[in-house]
């Protein structure tokens, strides 16, 4: 066993192997139009309805850079605490495929728009820094559809020319858990920035996963394999696990690992060789002569910096310092910009501690059950805030609040109204409670006598009876106090 609890190691015949992972994440830039054309980018449109002459590579058509996409890439770079390159160059990556109309993809090869940066992960045993190698802008290809016809392949060019950011990490990741945390953090940062919606189901975020293994303690990297185009975190984790074990088996068997590109078969849960290094494409990269080098000024970058919102790391720090949240609570609340917005709206007018508990506890559970996002929450931040105030000022008990909350989940209703309509207001008038308690004691004379003679366990019975008679509305704290006196 390793010393570090969360360390991910593969054990074989007394050998321990460390897994080294690097990711190339392809993140679709949030933008109305494509990287070099004015076509729309809406997901789910009818095939070939969002295609311009440029996207379909008609003769004489020329690319014109979309400034908004450039801004989005730079913002993302700032979010990754990365170096922004004032001069970057678009290159052509040449290869033939039916869904690549130009016969080349416009990408950035030697001079990307964003250089080295970093991402901080919050792991169970502390923080981990993952280096970013680079971020570059490139065009997406179209989509080949092979299963509509036994003989023909259909091509949908809606995606052709859509702007992608390729974010390349350094080989700093060491476990499927870290990959999970990395992707989530990257997604969170981009969603805060509004530069990528991070929707993996729609293909807005996918990754090529580079995996190698080495004996624990070794400084040398092993030969890596690249697993292409994995589109969910779960599949990434499964692919890594499979691939790392496959490589370890090979080494233990005295064989060597071939550097190659592999595919992950999600049905069989295995990776398969796609092409070896020898068969690797020669993409014949060269600067695209249709586009001048992309040059941005310091002012341009500074202006974008001023548009950057508070990002998760800073927000977490503020939540801990200002609201005295635990790191665990803060992490949960900042992981998603919508959640943190919701939280901040609730606590504008209500108690932070209660709000934190109710959001992380009741609200998340309820949303989870209904499979809803925080943005789809039936309970608005304003009404949750009111509910919390009703608890805080003693109008209702925590228990009653849960009933009210359940009703609010059915449709965003003002909790005060629910309390009034259903008569759920907590009874906190000592005189009314005394009368109630007197009656309960009166009705249970024998038990009262037993209690007095030392059977103190019966106290709970009396509390229960009072609550029952009051329909759950009696203020439990007061009931306790008065009962103690009376008995």
């Amino acid at each position: 066993m390793s010393k570090n609890k969360s360390e991910y190691l593969i054990n074989r015949n007394d050998n321990q192997y460390e897994v080294v992972i690097g990711l190339e994440v392809h993140a679709q830039v949030t933008s109305e139009s494509k990287l070099f054309s004015t076509s729309a980018t809406k997901f789910g449109a009818e095939p070939n309805t969002q295609v311009s002459l440029v996207d379909a590579a008609f003769p004489g058509m020329l690319p014109v850079i979309n400034e908004y996409c450039v801004k989005q890439a730079i913002k993302t770079g700032i979010g990754l605490k990365a170096k922004i390159n004032k001069r970057s160059v678009f290159d052509r990556k040449n290869y033939f495929y039916a869904d690549l109309p130009q016969g080349y993809q416009i990408s950035q090869f030697k001079d990307p728009i964003v250089g080295e940066g970093k991402v901080i992960l919050d792991m169970q045993d502390g923080q981990k820094e993952v280096g970013i190698e680079r971020l570059h802008l490139e065009q997406d290809a179209g989509k080949s559809i092979h299963d509509l016809d036994p003989k023909n392949t259909f091509v949908d060019l809606n995606r052709s020319g859509v702007a992608l950011m390729e974010i390349v990490s350094k080989p700093d990741l060491r476990s499927p858990d870290e990959v999970n945390a990395y992707i989530k953090k990257l997604r969170s940062i981009m969603r805060y920035l509004g530069t990528c919606d991070g929707n993996m189901q729609e293909g807005s975020l996918r990754a090529d996963v580079n995996v190698s293994v080495r004996k624990k303690g070794s400084k040398e990297f092993g030969t890596r394999c690249e697993i292409k185009n994995v589109n969910s975190i779960k599949f990434m984790q499964m692919a890594i696990e499979y691939e790392a074990n496959r490589q370890v088996d090979l080494i233990e068997d005295g064989q060597t690992i071939d550097q190659e590109t592999r595919l992950f078969d999600t049905k069989k849960n295995e990776t398969r060789s796609m092409r070896s290094k020898e068969d690797a494409h020669d993409y014949r990269y060269f600067p695209d002569p249709d586009l001048l080098p992309l040059e941005v000024s310091d002012d341009f970058i500074e202006n974008l910096k001023s548009e950057i919102p508070e990002l998760p790391d800073e927000k977490k720090k503020r939540f801990i310092e200002k609201f005295k949240l635990s790191p665990y609570e803060a992490n949960i609340l900042v992981s998603d910009i919508e959640t943190s917005n919701y939280f901040e709206n609730v606590i504008k007018k209500s108690d932070v501690k209660l709000a934190t508990n109710w959001i992380i506890g009741e609200l998340f559970a309820a949303l989870n059950e209904k499979n809803l996002e925080i943005t789809e929450s039936p309970i608005s931040a304003g009404n949750l805030s009111k509910l919390i105030n009703l608890i805080k000022d003693g109008t209702i008990s925590g228990k009653i609040a849960k009933t009210v909350f359940e009703q609010m989940m059915e449709g965003d209703k003002d909790p005060k109204k629910i309390v009034e309509e259903k008569g759920l207001k907590q009874e906190s008038d000592p005189k009314a409670l005394e009368a109630l308690i007197d009656k309960v004691i009166d009705d249970n004379r024998d038990k009262a006598t037993e209690y007095k003679s030392g059977k103190v366990k019966l106290f709970g019975f009396f509390v229960g009876q009072v609550m029952k008679v009051s329909g759950g509305k009696a203020n439990p704290q007061l009931v306790n106090e008065i009962l103690k006196k009376k008995l």
Partner: protein
Amino acid sequence: MSDITKQSLSELVENIKGKKLSSSEVTKAFVERSEKSKELNAYITEDYANALNKAKKFDEKPNLDLKLPGIPMAVKDLFCTRDLRTTAGSKILNNFVPTYESTVTQNIWNEGAILMGKLNCDEFAMGSSNETSFFGNVQNPIDKNLVPGGSSGGSSSAVAAQLTPITIGTDTGGSIRQPASFTGTVGLKPTYGSCSRYGIVAFASSLDQAGPMAQNVKDCALLQEVISTYDEKDSTSIDFKRNEYSKELTKDIKGKKIGIPKEYRVDGMPKEIEDLWKKGIEYAKDCGAEIIDISLPHTNYALPTYYIVAPAEASSNLARYDGVKYGFRVEGENLIDMYEKTRSEGFGAEVQRRIMIGTYVLSSGYYDAYYLKAQKVRKLIKNDFDDAYKKVDAILTPSTPSSAFKIGEKTNDPVSMYLNDIFTVPVNLAGLPGISIPAGHDAKGYPLGLQIIGKAFNEQNILNIAHAMEEKINFKNNINDWWIK
């Protein structure tokens, strides 16, 4: 008027504006002459009926404030024209009809001109003799069986034979100036970034530039004025102040310093060319220009540099012709088979040769030795010109190392064919403007041209020098309409 087609553009414009001629009369005259001239094979696609209709419409409501009021013209078949087949001289685009218009041709129609048809050219503008066209070679009206130059061979032939009063070509390594020189006409290659490349079938993006071809310098200036506009649809288009070239045209070039680069005296250059150049220098002096000897030390490397850069870009630019989306397709067993059959049958030998060269020089392991080195040399060539322009306003050279050659003479010797571009290629590599004007004849009576190279964005200066020299040279083309029976 029986001699309509003999008139220059300026005369035609004047006559239409003065209501001495209608657009219909002019268009009819050029259409009729074009129809009688099929033997030249200057056209790939004729659009005469539409042209006559458009002329009629123009005459019904003539807008005489336009720069090219009702003027008919045919254009090189490299410009995409809406609803009219655009082939780039290739089988692979044999059936291609664009739904869009190139910026340059749109500018022309906006000034009132009328499209008569699309002119022959080397396939994808790759050639110096118009012999690589899928639609057959073009005859030079100077003499039967003589090439008209290339790649804008249909354009030069049509202007020289007066099938169109003016035309436009494209020039990647000399494709306007060399055919102009071979046919005794005037051709201008503007500064890179002057005319939009939007809608022009691409050959080599960093070198391609559209430009005017005409009977004389003044017509050339007027057409340049029309086609040169800043265009946001072309990222390499440059927003600079453009002159009204025809209005500002002057023959006063007194005191202009004209450089004579010693490196252009190449080995084996015919004496006739040497003599023409000397005569050119005398003409320039007669116009009041000052002659200064200069050096462009990297000239020798221009041709090899060009034949790396241009094919490299072409190999990538032509990847889109794959049989998938439009154009010619040969069905195959699978995708790769379809690609191979389509491109093997769709492209001619010269285009395939250049795709192979381009693919090779960009391949990993060769990129640094070829493409990267060529880019460095290209910079040195540009620096040569920058240095020279510290001393001179323009540079005078021959346009070509020889007069027009016979059809078939060089088809089996690509290197000798490529050598034709030796004086024109450096200008493209440096992105400069250059104009070829007819300046004399060789012993066989074939025209020879002189090239004036200018500073970037200063088309006006070389047009002025050409205009002044044109008067002194007083060139007359010997065309006897041999093809009209």
